[in-house]
Amino acid sequence: MSIIFDHVTHKYEAGTTMEKPALKDINLVINDGEFIGLIGHTGSGKSTLIQHMNGLLKPTEGTVYVDGEDICGKGYSLKSLRSRVGLVFQYPEHQLFESSVLLDVEFGPKNMGLTQLEIQYRAFEALKSVGIGDDLIDASPFELSGGQKRRVAIAGVLAMKPKVLILDEPTAGLDPAGRDEILGLIRRIHEESGITVILVSHSMEDVANYVDRIIVMNDAKVVLEGPPKTVFANCDALESIGLSVPQVTRISADLKNLGLPVRPDSITIEEAADELAALYKRLH
C-alpha cells in the first residue's frame, strides 16, 4: 500500500474571502510497511494531510495515489479505501456510541459488509491485540477508564484490518504510563502485522524512539524529511519553527558547540549515555 502525494494543495473555503491554504504543493511518497512520524505544531497542516490519505478531504489541486490509483478518480470506492487506510482521530474515545465494547468495535467491519462470523472474529482479535480482556467486552464503553476507552476506539479501526494505520495524536491527554502503553501497542502492531503506520505527534520524544522516518510540517509545507537522526541534526531549524528536539539531542548539540568531541545526533538517552561514557574514558 504505497501512498503518493503529487503536488497536492488544499484550501479551506476555496473561492471565498475566507480562503485559507492548509497544504501547499505537497510531494510525498509513503512506502509499504514504513513507520512514519509526522510532526509539526498546531495548524501546520498535519491533520489536513492525513485526511487526504483516506479521502475524507479532497485536494484542491494535485493528486493523491493509493496503490497507484487516483483516489478522486471516477468510480473509485472511498468506502473500500477507508477500510484499507484506517484513521484514528484525536481523542478517538469521543466517537464511541454503542451499548457494549464488542458492538462498538464491530461497527467498522459491519460497514464493510462482512459475514457475522468474520465480524465477530475480527472484533475479538482487535480487542485482544489492544489488550482489552474478555471481562470488558460486554461492558458499556462509557464505563471504562480513559486509557481503556482509547484502546477500544483504536481496536474499532484495527478490526477493519487496514493496510495503513494512521493515528492523530494518540497519546494526547494521557498520563506517562498510558502514553508508553499506547506507543508500545502501536509499535507491537507494526512489528507483528507489518502494516504501514503513520504517527502524528508534536512530541519529539514520542516519535524519536519509535519511527523509521520523520516528516516535519510547517506552515502547510513539508520542511524536513528523513530518518530521525538526520532530522534531529537540524536542531536550530526545528527550534526556529517552534518544535523542540529530544532533550538529549539538544544537550549533545550544546556540548558539541562547547567544543567537546561528541556526536550531536544522539536521539535516545541510552545512545547519549554511551557517547558520554566513551568520551569520559578517552579524556581520563
Partner: protein
C-alpha cells in the same frame, strides 16, 4: 458543508449599525417587523425597502452574504408562494386547466406575501449579522429588566440564551469531527432510504449528546468555581450606555414608523 449555513451568524465589521446599542437594534427590528403588517398595498413596501436597504448599506455587510443566508429559507418561501397562487380564490381568472384555477388576486397575494416574508427574514437576520450574541443577550436582559419586579428570572434566561448561542459553532465543529471519525470507520450517511439514513445518524447523535453533556458539566463546574450565583449584585465590565447616535436612531425609527402608518391609512 454543515458550516455553510450563514443565516444568523455574526458578521464582523466596524460600521455604525454594528456600534449601535443592542437595545436600539432590538427595538428597531421589532418596529420593522411590526411595520410590515401595517399596510395592505404594495405602496407600503416603498419605505420598508428603502429603510432596510439603507440599514444594510450602512452595516457594510455584503449584499451577497445576505442573499446567501436566504438560501436556507428558500423552501419556506416557495411553499408560501405556491400555496398563495393555487389556493387564493378571487374574481379575475387568469389561468385555468382542469381543476387548477389561478386568479389575479392569488398572484398579487403571492407576490405580496413573498416580499413580506423576504423582508421579515432579512430584517431580523440583519440584527444578528451586526450584533454579537453577548451584546444581544445583554440588550435583551436590559430591555426585559422591568419584568424582574414580577420575579421573572430575566438574568437567568439571558445567560442561558447566551450560552446556547455560544455553543452553536462549537457543536457544529464537533458534529463535523464525529462525522469524519465515523466515516473513517466506513459509515455512510448518503446512501439508502429514509429509515437507513435515520439509523445512520445514531453513531453521530449519541457521541454528540455525550459531548454536549460533558461540556455542559465542565462549564457548570467552571462557573461554580468562579462563584457565579446569578443576577443579584452582579456588575458588568461593559455596561450598556446610550449615546447620542442611539437617540438619533430612535428618532429615525419613530419617523419611519409614522411614514408607514400614514401610508397604510391613506393608500389602499
Amino acid at each position: 458543508m454543515i458550516r455553510d449555513i450563514t443565516i444568523g451568524q455574526y458578521y464582523p465589521e466596524n460600521s455604525i449599525i454594528h456600534r449601535l446599542d443592542p437595545r436600539v437594534k432590538l427595538a428597531g427590528t421589532l418596529v420593522f417587523l411590526v411595520s410590515l403588517f401595517l399596510f395592505k398595498s404594495f405602496w407600503g413596501y416603498i419605505p420598508a425597502v428603502i429603510f432596510l436597504f439603507t440599514c444594510i448599506h450602512l452595516s457594510k455587510v455584503p449584499f451577497k452574504h445576505i442573499v446567501k443566508g436566504l438560501k436556507a429559507v428558500v423552501v419556506l418561501l416557495s411553499f408560501t408562494l405556491l400555496a398563495n397562487i393555487f389556493f387564493t380564490k378571487g374574481t379575475d381568472l387568469v389561468f385555468s386547466w382542469k381543476f387548477i384555477k389561478i386568479y389575479r388576486e392569488g398572484l398579487e397575494m403571492a407576490g405580496f406575501m413573498a416580499i413580506r416574508l423576504t423582508l421579515l427574514i432579512t430584517g431580523s437576520s440583519l440584527m444578528t449579522y451586526t450584533t454579537t450574541p453577548t451584546k444581544l443577550t445583554d440588550g435583551l436582559e436590559r430591555a426585559f429588566a422591568p419584568l424582574k419586579l414580577f420575579k421573572a428570572p430575566v438574568h437567568e434566561v439571558a445567560t442561558m440564551m447566551s450560552i446556547a448561542l455560544r455553543f452553536i459553532p462549537v457543536l457544529l465543529e464537533e458534529t463535523d469531527k464525529i462525522m469524519k471519525a465515523q466515516q473513517a470507520r466506513g459509515a455512510d450517511f448518503e446512501e439508502g432510504g429514509l429509515i437507513k439514513r435515520a439509523k445512520a445518524m445514531i453513531p453521530i447523535l449519541i457521541p454528540l449528546f455525550i459531548s454536549a453533556f460533558r461540556r455542559a458539566g465542565d462549564l457548570a463546574m467552571a462557573m461554580e468555581v468562579r462563584c457565579y450565583h446569578g443576577g443579584e449584585g452582579r456588575t458588568k465590565m461593559k455596561p450598556l450606555k446610550y449615546k447620542l447616535r442611539d437617540l438619533i436612531a430612535y428618532l429615525i425609527l419613530a419617523a419611519y414608523l409614522a411614514v408607514v402608518i400614514f401610508i397604510g391609512k391613506k393608500l389602499h
